[in-house]
């Protein structure tokens, strides 16, 4: 047997020994099967991807995403006025409308408008808190440092761990243990605030990467195991590995950096320009603005779409997409959907063939399998708005 890993990142040089995260021992104690991912040893699964996936859709799954980069952007003396325009010059989203505690999805673009990463931006008192992808965080820090003026401080909060609690019962489980100035119910989707969990200071935001209601929880690395124990002690909660994280996000229609977007793709063709509002489109003033403005005006040659496949055989990243005999695109993520019990995929195809219901085919190991352009998310989102 030989395996073709589909979601392991290839962004880190292989010769570097993988680093260990604060919960490394915790995962091993709980039966996690550890693999190298984004330069770290990470749990790919515990009891099995299918079971973990379905548990998260029905209950609450606890994910360790401490490989992701947590960054803090601040101005001198914590003066918000300086840091906001500085960060707006580095990112394409509108920060003027981002309220204290609120979280917004952004992209990090290169000067040509190619996607260098996707990230979350939250307004904290005194600055902005960013969460970037693990495999790209070192490059992101370099890029942001280049984009930001010298008197803006960029801190890598590498002493913090990041957990995600996701699923329809995540709120019930977390509410039981979260204490704060206001109740956890004060957080709606893409809102965050400070709480304590078993006495540990935590920044909690109502967000995630599964399409479910859920939370992302930043805690000091040295307290991560205590917080993980506290959450796992709740009857709704089981630990979930990276394998189910990938299948959950695919069902939710959420793109994965390095697969569904990369520097060759721009925000408009990736379908990820929703964060770039009218003011930013009109005014520009961010890296890659010219390409974004042109793509909005003229459209793009290709678009990111969802594909629903017949049968049970999954299409994997790199599979060619055909319209009749003509090659019209490529699969960027694909797998068997545990919730739907059929294969689903994301692909880029010619814009003229991107409409829902368009009949296409995917070449898998020399055979062409029928596929239909499908609206995403494949499984409805259940965000708590």
């Amino acid at each position: 047997m030989s395996e073709y890993p589909i979601s392991d990142s290839d962004q880190e040089p292989e010769e570097l020994a993988p680093m260990l995260l604060p919960l490394d021992g915790w995962h091993r104690d709980h039966g996690g099967r550890m693999v190298e991912f984004a330069g770290y040893m990470m749990p790919v699964q515990y009891e099995g991807i299918m079971a973990e996936h379905l548990w998260t859709r029905e209950n609450a799954g606890l994910f360790d995403v401490s490989h992701m980069g947590q960054l803090l952007v601040t101005g001198e003396e914590g003066a918000q006025t300086d840091v906001e325009p500085a960060l707006e010059a580095a990112l394409p989203i509108d920060l003027s409308t981002l309220k204290l505690g609120a979280v917004r999805y952004s992209l990090l673009l290169d000067e040509n408008g190619g996607i260098l990463d996707d990230l979350m931006v939250a307004r904290w008192p005194g600055g902005f808190y960013l969460v970037v992808n693990g495999a790209t965080k070192w490059d992101d820090i370099g890029t942001l440092r280049e984009y930001l003026p010298d008197d803006i401080t960029l801190n890598h909060l590498d002493d913090r761990a990041l957990l995600a609690l996701q699923g329809p019962k995540a709120f019930a489980a977390l509410e039981r243990v979260a204490e704060g100035e206001y109740p956890l119910s004060a957080l709606t989707f893409m809102k965050g605030g400070r709480f304590t969990l078993g006495g540990v200071d935590a920044w909690i935001s109502r967000s995630g990467y599964t399409g479910e209601d859920g939370f992302e929880i930043s805690v000091p690395g040295e307290s991560a195991a205590d917080v993980a124990d506290l959450l796992l002690a709740q009857p709704e909660v089981k630990p979930i590995g990276l394998g189910a994280r990938d299948s959950l996000r695919l069902e939710a229609g959420l793109p994965l950096y390095g697969h569904d977007m990369d520097p060759e793709r721009g925000p408009v063709e990736a379908g990820l320009a929703f964060g770039i509002n009218k003011r930013r489109r009109l005014e520009g003033g961010f890296p890659g603005a010219e390409r974004v403005q042109r793509d909005f005006a003229e459209g793009t040659a290709q678009k990111r779409i969802g594909l629903s496949l017949d049968g049970r055989q999954a299409a994997r990243e790199g599979a060619k997409v055909f319209h009749g005999e003509q090659e019209v695109g490529v699969v960027t993520s694909g797998g068997f959907s545990p919730s739907l019990q059929r294969p689903i995929a994301m692909a880029y195809v010619d814009a003229a063939l991107a409409a829902d219901g368009t009949a296409l085919s995917i070449e898998i190991r020399g055979k062409k399998l029928d596929a239909t352009v499908a609206a995403m998310p494949f499984v409805p989102n259940r965000y708590h708005r």
Partner: protein, 123 residues
């Protein structure tokens, strides 16, 4: 009946000149939940080491190599509807294909059960 094992985690059980091939319980455990099996056509001929079948799990597609050369006599069609048999019954009901051996001497290069057990323990 004699059973042999390959380093690629296939098992083959020999009865006369017919070999029944599957993946080992260790292999299915590594792959996780199997969602689809692409099986070879009857009558197709393969050389030892050729990719003959594909086992799809939630996370990846994996080749299955034939441990011997020969002609496919039968594929386990039950797996079309129940691919999970490869997880639950890898070394009996989850067999993948039967192959008519063209060179029985190839079996000498394979491991017996004890040697395979040692091999897995060394991984």
């Amino acid at each position: 009946m004699t059973r042999y094992f390959s380093q690629e985690h296939e098992w083959i059980e020999i009865e006369g000149d017919l070999g029944t091939v599957g993946i080992t319980d260790y292999a299915q455990g590594q792959l996780g939940d199997i969602t689809f099996v692409d099986l070879p056509a009857e009558g197709a001929t393969f050389d030892k080491g050729d990719s003959v079948a594909v086992v799809d799990s939630v996370k990846a597609a994996s080749d299955v190599y034939t441990p011997v050369s020969g002609t496919i006599a039968e594929a386990n069609e039950v797996l079309a509807d129940q691919p999970e048999l490869v997880n639950t019954d890898a070394e009996v009901g989850g067999w993948l294909f039967r192959i008519t051996l063209s060179d029985a001497s190839e079996l000498e290069a394979l491991m017996d059960e004890a040697a395979y057990k040692d091999y897995v323990a060394s991984l």
